[in-house]
Assembly symmetry: C2
């Protein structure tokens, strides 16, 4: 079965022949696996013993749909897999809900689903259920995705902000802001060109490496709102002051330059392949070592102290400034 059309039309969303052609000619060849192929509305999944089920969901609306380092399809896989990975689980299954605009080029959809399938295979996850809705021209901007991830972790795994204590250290697995800066540049609204690439990738190897470190308290991937937003979530949830060292936070030079030119702060820009971890003070060196084995640019970037719930940046010039919580959206549709 092949897709005879070159653009999406409303008929591709009606449940009938055109939709069947789209599913059989485009989605199934890319995503084929034993669960998806049963053609049922709900699929049974195998349950490993002594594991607990972990689930997450995310919407994806990135603009443009394709950018250096990925597209909305690979991003949906990485974003979902990473939420599962930072919970200490191994992602296994994805569900995928697709919103398409009438008139979307089917070649674009094919590239997106191809990248999604490749990323899913790399990450060891199978897309086990899907749904496609087609929206009239102007009711959607090309394509949006919603993905739900399902993974399994050792029963009784505990990683929670509530476990963070004064004295704990915070690490990041690599340079921050690459995804945000790359998407920004890909919009070509600024007349800038560069070789910036999104960091969109799985953080599962980094998360699994840290799980073996006793003293690991919490992990999160800094997506929307960037590192600064995760820092605020941690300060807010713990009631502690989180001090970050500006010098130690890795930022790629190209990202720094773009931010300076356009007036953005890389600490607020989304990453899609980085992990932030909190560990007990005496586990910090071991955690950094474990992380660097899979993420060479990982760094220890700060610590928690008693005080009010706030985030303080120790600047490169020896000063201090409060890192505010993000207010208005500086950069919509970044993920």
């Amino acid at each position: 079965m092949s897709v005879r059309d070159t653009h999406i039309s409303l008929g591709h969303g009606n449940g009938g022949r055109m939709m069947r052609e789209l599913i059989e000619g485009l989605f199934l060849p890319a995503l084929s696996n034993p669960q998806l192929d049963i053609g049922a509305d709900a699929v049974p999944l195998p349950l490993p013993a002594d594991r607990e089920l972990v689930v997450t969901t995310d919407g994806f609306t990135v603009k443009p749909l394709e950018f250096p380092g990925g597209n909305i399809g690979s991003l949906a896989v990485h974003g979902t897999v990473n939420d599962i990975a930072v919970s200490g689980a191994v992602p296994r299954f994805l569900t995928l809900s697709v919103f398409l605009e009438e008139g979307l080029e089917i070649a674009t959809l094919r590239r997106v689903i191809g990248a999604l399938a490749a990323a899913a295979q790399d990450c060891g996850v199978a897309v086990v259920a899907g749904d496609t809705k087609v929206l009239g021209r102007g009711d959607c901007d090309g394509m949006y995705l919603a993905a739900t991830g399902i993974g399994f972790r050792r029963r009784g795994t505990r990683l929670a902000m509530a476990d963070v204590r004064a004295g704990d250290r915070i690490l990041v697995s690599g340079p921050v802001g690459d995804h945000g800066a790359a998407v920004l540049l890909a919009r070509q609204e600024f007349g800038l060109q560069g070789d910036l690439r999104s960091d969109s990738a799985s953080v599962l190897p980094a998360a699994q490496a840290l799980l073996r470190v006793p003293g690991l308290r919490f992990m999160r991937d800094p997506t929307r709102g960037g590192l600064a937003t995760v820092a605020h979530e941690l300060a807010g949830a713990t009631g502690l002051t989180l001090s970050l060292s500006e010098e130690r936070i890795p930022v790629n030079e190209a990202v720094q330059s773009v931010c300076e030119l356009l007036g953005f702060d890389p600490l607020y820009l989304a990453c899609e392949g980085r992990l932030v971890a909190v560990v007990a003070a005496d586990a910090a060196d071991q955690a950094l070592h474990a992380l660097r084995a899979v993420a060479p640019q990982a760094a220890l970037i700060g610590q928690f102290t008693r005080g009010s719930a706030q985030v303080i940046l120790d600047t490169a010039f020896g000063g201090q400034r409060a890192l505010d919580e993000l207010q208005d959206d500086p950069l919509p549709r970044i993920c």
Copy 2:
């Protein structure tokens, strides 16, 4: 924490303060449960022994957002719960991905999430993970939802189109086309008014009643594309001829009238609270009896015979006509 604003703005999607207010002031009060309240990106779910996990996903783009008998929120719950129910499972958990248009009235969002929460409670499911994205004005028409449902069923439950045999009978749990006709009228494009209501509801009681009947082969809820589309899926998957009796298919009078006026066929209109079941011939009476205990208007409507893969309608006038597969979309954004 209350939501200070009256309309959605891009800042409600940025991961920062406004988004936190929206989540804490609107989503959490409506959807509160132990899994959702942990504030993690991925949540652990309890696994019952001797059950298998069943998962499904669906997107919702219905226009208008609110219609007689429900809104996009209750529809998302019923649509997702029903896919789990017809797989022979009991739905337990939902994840919810929300796409909002900048400028959406927060009062509308509150009604939608309120109806979603009420429907979830009625159906015994908890919303355990969520995500919200805000799209610029014109990049979305009000609000879209994507929901993933997770349920559990007895290990080894088998309900598959592949098990359908010549001689098997087909039943429907109630009148068809109500949802499609009600949404159509709610659009007010036709200058028609009526007291039509969507049938949006859980089919779990009907599905559970049928599960106790030996000889049950397969169940599905006839949503997009209606009863005719499920009939085509069955004929296509089995290679059998499915004969439906026009007289026996229940259609509410108001639905029939609207269809006649506007040139639609109720067999192609979406239901959101009906179930189609296939049973062995010798189980047909027992199945109908079991179904009528929870769905009084349930009916035996046809049977499978050897022959080519097609759907034949035995008309009320004693004739026969082929029911074609749906081609173009007569009614986009019905669910």
